[in-house]
């Protein structure tokens, strides 16, 4: 089995009486897109800060990349940080500098120079769809453009691990789609991505595995499908029926021609009714999602905070 790109073991961090991260353990495999899902205040950003060495854990450990004797994956080491790209939740770009200048500056901090720097800057501008605005000051950009630049800066040094902390906060739908497409491209290229979000549809769309956090604790972790089947509950089917043959038993509640019932396998149930001669005028199936998983696990909605 290959060595994981990120390994967190029994990680804890408190701020005074507040336990921001509580005995958290998980690992992210090389090339995997891993989601940390939880409401605001769940401890996602603190986990990212612990991962990149901005905060020191009270307990537990963080290992990034391959374990070597000299720098055993500790983010305090420059060589480890060299392999990680971070797009923080708060925009981290110089608004008085142009997009190109921002990329050049951070590229130089990571040791890039000359043709390589030029090549990477051009790639990042292209990636963020900012090539035409390369010489425009970032301060004049829209929220979405700033987010894209924020992400591009994280990629300037070709990291093998990318940490994206709520990368779509305050972004217009067009830029959000662009960010999704960019992440999918990076995933196809084999980059390890750790993605934090409180939007369940993003985690569901982008991540192979998802860890659900609340109050600093890990509540569940698995593939999206497994989480849904384990904690999502049944699908909800509502339908308007055209005709009901006599003797056919209709499940759930019925009000006139309208029926509503729950079923673990909704399509099988609908097919069974259809084969008995039930004619459907309309059919609506609400499948469980990570929102319902979170509701099931915590008794609260994801966006309640």
């Amino acid at each position: 089995m290959s060595i994981p790109a990120v390994t967190i073991t029994a990680l804890s961090k408190s701020f005074g009486d507040l336990r921001a991260v509580d005995d958290l353990s998980f690992s992210v495999q090389n090339g995997e897109t891993f989601g940390l899902l939880g409401p605001n205040g769940a401890g996602k950003t603190t986990t990212i800060s612990l991962l990149i060495g901005l905060l020191r854990p009270d307990h537990g450990s963080v290992v990034l990349g391959k374990t070597e004797s000299r720098d055993p994956g500790n983010p305090a080491f420059a060589t480890v940080r060299q392999s990680v790209g971070v797009a923080p939740q708060a925009l981290s770009i110089y608004e008085a500098l142009t997009a190109k200048e921002n990329l050049e500056f951070f590229g130089q901090l990571y040791g890039l120079s000359g043709a390589k720097l030029k090549e990477r800057v051009a790639w990042c501008l292209d990636f963020a769809q900012l090539a035409e605005r390369a010489k425009t000051r970032a301060g004049t950009f829209s929220g979405g453009m700033k987010r894209r630049l924020n992400m591009a800066v994280a990629l300037i040094h070709e990291p093998s691990i990318l940490l994206l902390d709520e990368p779509t906060v305050g972004v217009d739908p067009q830029s959000r789609n662009h960010i999704f497409e960019s992440i999918q491209t990076l995933r196809e290229q084999g980059m390890t991505i750790l993605y934090t979000t409180h939007y369940m549809e993003e985690a569901q769309r982008l991540c192979e595995r998802v860890a659900i956090m609340d109050h600093g604790k890990l509540l569940a972790m698995d593939t999206v499908e497994n989480l849904l089947s384990q904690f999502g509950g049944d699908s909800i089917i509502t339908a308007d029926l055209q005709s009901i043959p006599s003797g056919v038993e209709i499940p759930g509640a019925r009000s006139g021609n309208r029926i509503r019932f729950v079923a673990p396998r909704p399509l099988e149930e609908v097919a069974k009714l259809s084969s008995k001669g039930v004619a459907f005028q309309t059919l609506n199936v609400i499948q469980p999602d990570l929102e319902s998983v979170f509701l099931k696990l915590t008794g609260r909605n994801l966006r309640d905070g």
Binding site: G53, A78, Y94, L97
Partner: protein
């Protein structure tokens, strides 16, 4: 490229992208330099409210010269001290005193005797205190006037002088018979007047010496002494076509405003890195915190050097005459190190841009006010002049003036430069340590 240099170049770029910041670093100091330069060059400009420290060199050592010195010493605007010539000259050159007055041998013979050639008084004024020169000249004349008045009222002394003058008249064969007759008549009238004054004085104790000013009468010849330095006639400074010492004073002061602009700008920039989130990126980049902070320090240092170089260039263009460019470079270096250290301390004054900016400018203003960047130290009250020693601005101005016109040698530069360097090193070490620990 070295990360420290990368950081510094980025910060310089950011600094000069901020138009208001750039104005306070370059535009404002230019305006200050030009304004004070023009004001200082005007003889009608305002003068000090405090006492002027004056050195007097009495080469005559006569009773009259002593009387004149005591008249001057009683003046409420003057703090007088008798010194020998070299000490007095050195004192003025180093800025310890506003001016020196030299009473030449023979002063007592002619001072206040209005029918004789007036005495010559040599005056050496600190070029930075040209505004007070005119006032001092007035005080010198007033002193001679008082002396003349007292001499007129002193019948015996006056009669002796008339007798000596008559003897001189007899001995001088070059005087024509007509003139001789005229002068003898004059002395006789004068003698008669003196006797009348003597009789009047016997009846009354009132003295009116101070009122005996002389309309149109020249009390003394004022001769200037150069207290700055001898300029090598072959030097570039001597050849500058528009040599105007007024800029020698106003530009070092103005430079300090630019320096303070740099300090305020960079102190805030550390807080700004925090608030705009870029500090996070800097902290997770493969560079050390010390490199981040030293990058800031280097940017501040370079900007201060740039300000000084720019202001010197402009000053030279206008007519400033730096005495020694090497010494000036050394002074600029020390000023840059000192204020880089102060910037590093100021960066710790708050967590937000607003708090650092507010506290930074408050401290800057106090340093500038006390140190002589607003009003030259010599125009301040005595206690403020004492306080000025606590301000790095004072030492910065002194170091630059030492190179520009005070003609300080290396040993003399060591005091201001040593203080500047020590302040800078302490500031950088303490500031970096605190910021790194955060």
């Amino acid at each position: 490229m070295n990360p420290i240099l990368v950081m510094a170049l980025k910060d310089l770029r950011l600094l000069f992208r901020d138009k208001l910041g750039a104005f306070f670093i370059i535009g404002f100091p230019i305006l200050m330099g030009l304004f004070f330069g023009l004001v200082m060059g005007s003889p009608t400009s305002s003068v000090s409210q405090g006492k002027m420290k004056i050195a007097v060199v009495d080469l005559d050592q006569s009773e009259t010269s002593s009387k004149w010195v005591s008249f001057m010493a009683k003046h409420e605007s003057i703090e007088l001290e008798e010194l020998d010539f070299d000490t007095a000259r050195e004192s003025v050159r180093k800025g310890g005193r506003v001016a020196m007055l030299v009473l030449k041998k023979g002063f007592g013979e002619t001072a206040g005797v209005f029918w004789r050639e007036p005495p010559t008084i040599q005056v050496g004024v600190d070029p930075s205190r040209a505004m007070e020169a005119a006032m001092l000249q007035g005080m010198v004349m007033e002193g001679i006037g008082q002396l003349a008045g007292q001499r007129m009222m002193d019948s015996s002394s006056m009669n002796d002088m008339i007798a000596r003058s008559r003897a001189d008249l007899v001995a001088d064969e070059t005087i024509s018979a007509g003139n001789r007759l005229l002068l003898n008549t004059f002395f006789a009238s004068l003698e008669k007047m003196q006797n009348s004054i003597g009789a009047l004085q016997a009846d009354s104790d009132e003295s009116s010496a101070g009122s005996l000013g002389a309309g149109g009468f020249e009390f003394a010849n004022i001769e200037s002494i150069d207290v700055s330095r001898k300029i090598d006639p072959k030097s570039q400074a001597a050849q500058l076509p528009r040599l105007k010492s007024r800029w020698d004073i106003s530009f070092p002061q103005a430079m300090m405003w630019g320096v303070l602009g740099c300090v305020a700008g960079f102190a805030v920039s550390i807080a700004r890195e925090r608030t705009q989130g870029t500090m996070t990126r800097l902290q997770i980049a493969p560079i050390t915190r010390s490199q981040v902070l030293l990058g800031k320090a280097l940017a501040c240092f370079l900007s201060v050097v740039l300000v000084v170089v720019f202001m010197v260039g402009l000053g030279v263009f206008l007519g400033m005459r730096p005495g020694n460019y090497l010494t000036l470079a050394f002074a600029a270096l020390c000023v840059a190190i000192c204020f880089t250290g102060i910037m590093m301390i100021m960066a710790n004054l708050g967590k937000t841009e607003e708090s650092v900016n507010g506290a930074g400018w408050a401290i800057n203003m106090v340093m500038a006010m006390v140190g002589g960047a607003m009003i030259p130290v010599m125009f301040m009250p005595q206690f403020m002049q004492g306080l000025s020693y606590l301000s790095p601005i004072k030492w910065g101005i002194l170091a630059i003036e030492g190179a520009v016109w005070r003609d300080f040698d290396f040993a003399e530069m060591m005091l201001p430069c040593g203080i500047l360097l020590a302040t800078g090193v302490i500031g950088v070490v303490v500031g970096t340590t605190i910021l790194t620990k955060e």
